[in-house]
Amino acid sequence: MKRWRYDSANDVERTPLERLRQFPREPDMLVYGLRSLGALIIRALLRVYHRFEIIGHENLRTNRSLVIVANHCSHLDTLCLLAALPLRKLHRAFPAAASDYFFQSVPRLWAAAVLVNALPFARQARVRQSLTLCQEVLANAGTILIIFPEGTRSTTGEVGEFKSGIGALVAGQDVAVVPCFIDGTFHAWPKGRRMPRPRKVRLIVGAPRNYRTRPADKLDICAIAAQLRDAVNELRLVNASH
C-alpha cells in the first residue's frame, strides 16, 4: 500500500494573527463564506445608500487575468470595484492595499484580509518586491488585481499623477488592463470623514488594453502610467447611457 501524501497548509504552526498577515493566503471555507456574505451586504448597501450604478460592465467579462486600474479618493472605491465582479471571482480578486496602513492594526488587518482579500503592498520600501508579488499572483489565470496607481486617496477629488510602478507591472506582460473611473465617492466618503454620506456613486469601466509589446525601460513605464491616467480621466466624461 502506498503512503498517503498530505498537502498541509504551509502556515499550520503560525498564530492566527500571523496567518492574517501572510500572503498568499491558504484557502479557507469559513473565510470564503464570511467574505461572500459580507460582499452581499456591501452590495445591497451600495445599491440602496449610494444608488450605485455600473457602466461598461461587459468590459470585465473574461476568464483571463485582469489588472483593474482606477482613481482613488475613498475607501468606498475598493468596495465599488469588488461589487462589480461576480461573487465566484471574489476570492481571486486582490485589491493592492498599503501594508503600512491596512496590515498593522488588528481591526483593519481583519477587514483587509477577510472581507476585502487585500494584497499587502509596501508603498514606501521594497516596492520592487511588491510588484514581483503582484506579477506572481497574476500568473495564475483568472486573477483580478485591483490597483490605485495614485498610491493614496486624493484629497481634492481630481485624478492625480499615476506612479510609474503600474507601468513596470504591465509593460511587456500579456495581461488585460482595464481603466475604471469611480465617480461620487469623493463626496460620499472623503478621506478624514468617519461615516459615508448617502451620495450617488457611479463606476465607469473602460475598454481593456494590453501592453505586451512595450519594453519595460524607464521612459516607457512612465509613458504607460501617464497613458493609463489619461484613460481613467477620460472616462469621467462618459454619461449614463440609460
Partner: protein, 317 residues
Amino acid sequence: MSPQIALHDPVFRGYFLIVLISLAAGGAVLAFLRFISKKESASMFKTYWSWIFMAGIGLIVVFLGRIPTIVGVTFLAIYAFKEFARASGLHRDWWMTGVVYAGIITVGIASLVAHPRAGEPGTAWYGFFVAVPVFAIALILLIPILRNRARGELQRMSLAIVGFIYIGWMFGHLGFLANARNAYGFVCFIIFATGVSDVAAFTFGKIFGRHPLRSEISPNKTWEGALGAFAVAMILPWLLRFSFPFFGTRELILTGLIVGIGGQLGDLSISVIKREIGTKDMAATIPGHGGILDRIDSLIYVAPLFMHMAGYYYPLR
C-alpha cells in the same frame, strides 16, 4: 441551565470556587518553582495564562446557559475541524470541508431543538443526534460521484469522515450533555477532570518520567505520567461526588476509568494523526498549548463515553 439557575445552583457555584482555587494553587506552585529553581519557566507561565483565559471563557459560557454552551461547543468543533483540515490538506477541498461544517452545525442543531413530534422527553432530539453520522457520511460518499472523479477521493473521503465523526460528532456530545437534568454536574466535571488529568500527566511525566509510553507515536509521553494521571482521575469522582450525588460505586469507578484512560487515549490518537502528517502541533491558536484540537483532544474521547455510560444507568433527561 440559565444564568438565574446557575447563580443559585450549588454545583455550579462549587465548580466556580474549585476552578478559582485550582488556578490559584497552580499559579502559586509555578511562582514557587521559579523562586526556588530560577529556571527558565516562561513557557510554563504562557501555558498557565492560557489556562486562566480558557477557564474564564468556559465558566462564562456554562454560566450563560444551555444554548450558549451548545453553540460554544459547536464553534469549538468547527474550529478544531478547520485545524485538522489545514494540517491534513483537506482544506483545499471546498465540498468536503463544506459538508463536514454543515454536519457539525447539524449536530449542534440536533442538540438544541426538541423532537418535532414530541416523541422524546426533554429539550434535545437524541434520535437525530445519534443518527447525524449516517446522513453526513452518505453526503460525503456522494461528493466523488457528483464530481465524477475517483483519483485521490478515498483519501479525501476518509479524512472528511474521520474529521466529522471524531471532531464534530464525538466532541459534540459535550454540547448534548448540556441537556441533561444534571447538566452542571456532568459538563463541569467532565471539563474539569479532563483538564486536571492532562496537567497531572504532564507534571508526573516531568518529575518521574523514565519509560516512554508509545515511543513511535509521542516520544514525550511516559508510563509514569500516564499512571499518575490515571491515579488522579480515579480519585477525582470521589472528591467531586457532589456533582453527581446519585452515582453509586460502580458508576464512580467507570467515570474514573473513562477520564483516566480515555483522556490519555484521546491525547495519543491525536498524536497518531500529527505524527503521520508530520506536524508538531495542529495550529498555534492558544499560546503554550498549540491548537484548539491539541487542547480538546482528551475531551473528544471522554465526553461521548461518559455521556453514554451515564445515560445507560440513569435517564439523561
